[in-house]
């Protein structure tokens, strides 16, 4: 009610005319009719109408944005509601059960995850694996969704995606038990998987920014998309910029947009980052690229790195999971565990017990080996 005119989202010329006419806060504008405002402030009729309509719709949500207490006010959520929502959203499995356990089920839908790593360690492979895994039908433990893959580096090769899709289809075929799964399997073929994988190739940061502005409309139109992959966010931003502050600003803007996308449209956003060499006290270390401020951008951060010839995945930053390091390997079928996990019906242990427990009761999780018929 006491919000000043200057803070409202109108055109600068309109705001100037209103303040010059003596209006300081929203309370002054209440109960005015458009024609009256038009005459008093000297704005056009359309502008006057826009001002009054915005004020009227602002009234409803204005209170919530100023007051911090969320639960009793319209538009807020309680923690219980959030818990239920997160259970419903679920995770996207990676087919590496060690990594899935460490992540508490998989890559969470509704959050942004960043994957950093040295060249050749498997970031693109992980992204491709997730792009296939999100399409696994729900009765097999997947999400049954579609994926939008934004490629800025040119490392998306459809042959590899087809191989991984084939391996996933094979795996599901081996664990099929009941009729519902058999029916779902008919739709789960390599051609269908590839046709549900939308691909965009951005050559520079301008195309990436342009595409990200259009993403909200795209995701509203195609609500079956549950995963957005950007591989990689680092490449377009690492060489075109002499002005680092502009780069930081643009990256922060993008980070905000991704978080908004993830929460409003219930998609998982996966970003890939590169590593850069930092020379420090005479020693050189590899750290994630794009600077320190970018570290705050994603909700969860995974770092993939080499230890000799062994590939390791570390959870570097997560608000809900413990820091952990697990080994993995890349086979011709895709992103997999180091060795086949021991065959058991026990649930994968994780630091978020309630979530995975209730999840497994609701859906069947794909196992690495087919269950013997008994």
């Amino acid at each position: 009610m006491h919000r000043t005119i200057a803070s409202l989202p109108f055109a600068p010329s309109v705001k100037m005319k209103l303040t010059r006419a003596g209006f300081d806060t929203c309370a002054d504008l209440k109960d005015l009719r458009p024609l009256q405002l038009c005459k008093e402030a000297g704005v056009s009729q359309e502008e006057a109408l826009e001002v009054l309509q915005t004020l009227r719709s602002d009234d409803g949500v204005g209170v919530v944005s100023h007051v911090g207490v969320a639960s009793v006010v319209r538009g807020g959520l309680t923690a219980l509601q959030l818990l239920q929502k997160e259970h419903a959203l679920g995770d996207i499995i990676t087919f590496c059960s060690a990594l899935d356990s460490a992540l508490g089920g998989g890559v969470p839908v509704g959050k942004t995850t960043e994957v950093c790593g040295a060249p050749g360690v498997g970031k693109t492979q992980l992204c491709l694996q997730l792009a296939v895994d999100v399409q696994i039908p729900v009765c097999f433990g997947g999400r049954g969704g579609q994926v939008l893959y934004i490629d800025t580096e040119g490392s998306f090769l459809v042959q590899r995606a087809a191989d991984m899709a084939q391996a996933a289809v094979e795996h599901c075929r081996l664990v099929t038990q009941d009729d519902e799964q058999k029916a779902a399997l008919k739709d789960f073929t390599v051609e269908n998987i590839l046709s549900r994988l939308s691909l965009v190739r951005c050559h520079d940061y301008v195309e990436l920014l342009a595409h990200c502005y259009l993403l909200p409309d795209l995701l509203t139109k195609h609500s079956e998309v549950q995963l957005v992959v950007i591989d990689s966010i680092a490449f377009p931003f690492r060489h075109d910029f002499d002005d680092f502050s502009q780069r930081t600003r643009l990256l922060n803007g993008l980070a905000q947009q991704f978080i908004q996308l993830a929460t409003e449209h219930n998609v998982a956003v996966v970003l890939t980052n590169q590593m850069t060499t930092k020379v420090w006290n005479g020693q050189s270390k590899l750290i994630p690229a794009l600077g320190e401020s970018w570290g705050h951008a994603a909700t969860q951060r995974l770092i993939l790195h080499w230890e000799g010839t062994q590939r390791l995945a570390s959870i570097y930053k997560s608000p809900s999971q413990m820091e952990a390091t697990v080994p993995y390997r890349i086979t011709e079928d895709g992103f997999r565990d180091m060795a086949p996990p021991p065959f058991s019906t026990a649930l994968p242990t994780s630091s978020g017990p309630t979530r995975s427990d209730s999840q497994s009761q609701q859906s069947k999780r794909p196992r690495m080996e087919p269950r013997p018929s008994s």
């Binding site: 055109a11 050749g120 040119g154 042959q159 342009a210 075109d240 000799g308």
Partner: protein, 398 residues
């Protein structure tokens, strides 16, 4: 794309004028601003500014296709290298629309491989070629037209028995000699027009490292960033051209010595010894591909060539989106590269290591024995210059 003028992006001309006063003329300028800045500069309300940004985005944003559409064109996804095992591992050959890097010590065969690929690209499609021109940017003066024709005739003797075909092949390879960083950058920036006029199906840059390394002294502060930016820009332009024209781009790289603290753990070194013997295994340092970690990110595929002994060499697939880490033996012959000695399959594994740190074997010995048809009698000192009873020292075979 980003040079597109706002006037052509479907924006109201009045707003374009207003933005022009603030030096916002192209789509790039507008999209780099925050919505609040757009409000201020264009004099629009918040939701109109967002709409403005969306309109410009529609004008700039790339098309969305499905992977299925790419899959339907899968016959055309790769450029076959005519080395069967390598093609099999790479799922068809060098992938188009990507950058493939060949790194290795001097004299190992990188330029030979490039010349062989040039010949292959000019062949008709029925023979596995691209039936197109080749753009060869040479910074080390390693290209030899005679060698190109020798490879062509030895590799495909039946096809090239007709002399006109030989001339046609030679005429399709366009050579550009660039000797400084700036020249290379200019050439790469103009490459789009050259590709169209030469009808090129393959671009080779041999090598990307030589000009950069002689002009940038990385011990000086600021030079490392400057060099990385330059290489990044080159890589971005090459990838854009590769993607737009759907052609493969091959670059070659040199080697550098990594010292002390970056040596990987000894257990991994010993594991690697079984397949590829480590070079400076004593712990003093080891040899890897040059141009650093950032450049390793920029290339899509990295093939490392290295020595085994004086005759046999190896190609290592160090980084590839489709192929596992693999090692293949080869020799350099008259017809270019010949894979041999690859009978055992155990050279392939799911292991590998950081392609920026993969140790490379350099040449440790040279065979100084006389080659060719020379009698093994000791030489008589030549008293007169007319008698040439001594041996011939030039290499006749290889």
């Amino acid at each position: 794309m980003h040079n597109k003028k706002l006037t052509r992006a479907g924006i109201d001309s009045l707003i374009c004028e207003r933005l022009k006063h603030h030096h916002v003329e192209t789509c790039e300028d507008l999209l780099s601003l925050t919505p609040l800045e757009v409000m201020r500069l264009a004099g629009q309300s918040h939701c109109h500014s967002l709409q403005l940004l969306r309109t410009v985005s529609v004008a700039c944003a790339p098309k969305i296709i499905t992977a299925q559409q790419l899959w339907l064109q899968r016959k055309d996804l790769c450029f076959s290298t005519s080395l069967q095992e390598l093609d099999r591992l790479l799922h068809g050959g060098l992938p188009r629309a990507t950058i493939t890097e060949v790194a290795g010590p001097s004299g190992c065969g990188k330029s030979q491989l490039c010349m062989m690929l040039s010949v292959l690209a000019t062949l008709p499609r029925s023979m596995g070629g691209l039936d197109s021109g080749v753009i060869y940017i040479d910074t080390e003066s390693a290209f030899s037209a005679e060698r190109l024709l020798e490879i062509a005739q030895s590799r495909f003797p039946d096809y090239f028995s007709v002399p006109e075909r030989l001339l046609e092949t030679a005429g399709r390879v366009h050579l550009f000699k660039e000797l400084t960083c700036q020249e290379v950058l200019t050439r790469v920036d103009q490459l789009e027009e050259d590709i169209i006029s030469c009808r090129a199906g393959l671009v080779i840059l041999d090598s990307v490292a030589s000009v950069v390394r002689k002009e940038f002294d990385t011990s000086l502060s600021g030079n490392l960033t400057h060099r990385s930016n330059l290489l990044g820009r080159q890589a971005a332009t090459l990838k854009y051209l590769a993607q737009e024209f759907r052609i493969p781009v091959v670059v070659t790289n040199q080697i550098t010595t990594q010292l002390g603290e970056r040596v990987p753990s000894s257990s991994s070194l010993s594991r690697r010894r079984s397949s590829v013997e480590g070079a400076g295994g004593e712990g003093s340092g080891y040899v890897t591909a040059a141009l650093g970690n950032t450049w390793s990110h920029n290339v899509n595929t990295r093939l490392i060539v290295q020595y085994v002994d004086s005759r046999l060499r190896q190609i290592v697939i160090a980084k590839s989106p489709v192929a596992p880490f693999a090692v293949l033996n080869y020799t350099v012959q008259r017809e270019g590269i010949r894979l041999e000695g690859n009978a055992s399959q155990e050279m392939m594994s799911a292991q590998g290591t950081d392609p920026g740190l993969q140790p490379i074997r350099v040449r440790t010995g040279f065979d100084y024995r006389l080659t060719g048809a020379v009698a093994m009698t000791p030489m008589t000192p030549a008293t007169t210059t007319t008698t040439t009873a001594g041996g011939r020292y030039d290499n006749t075979g290889v």
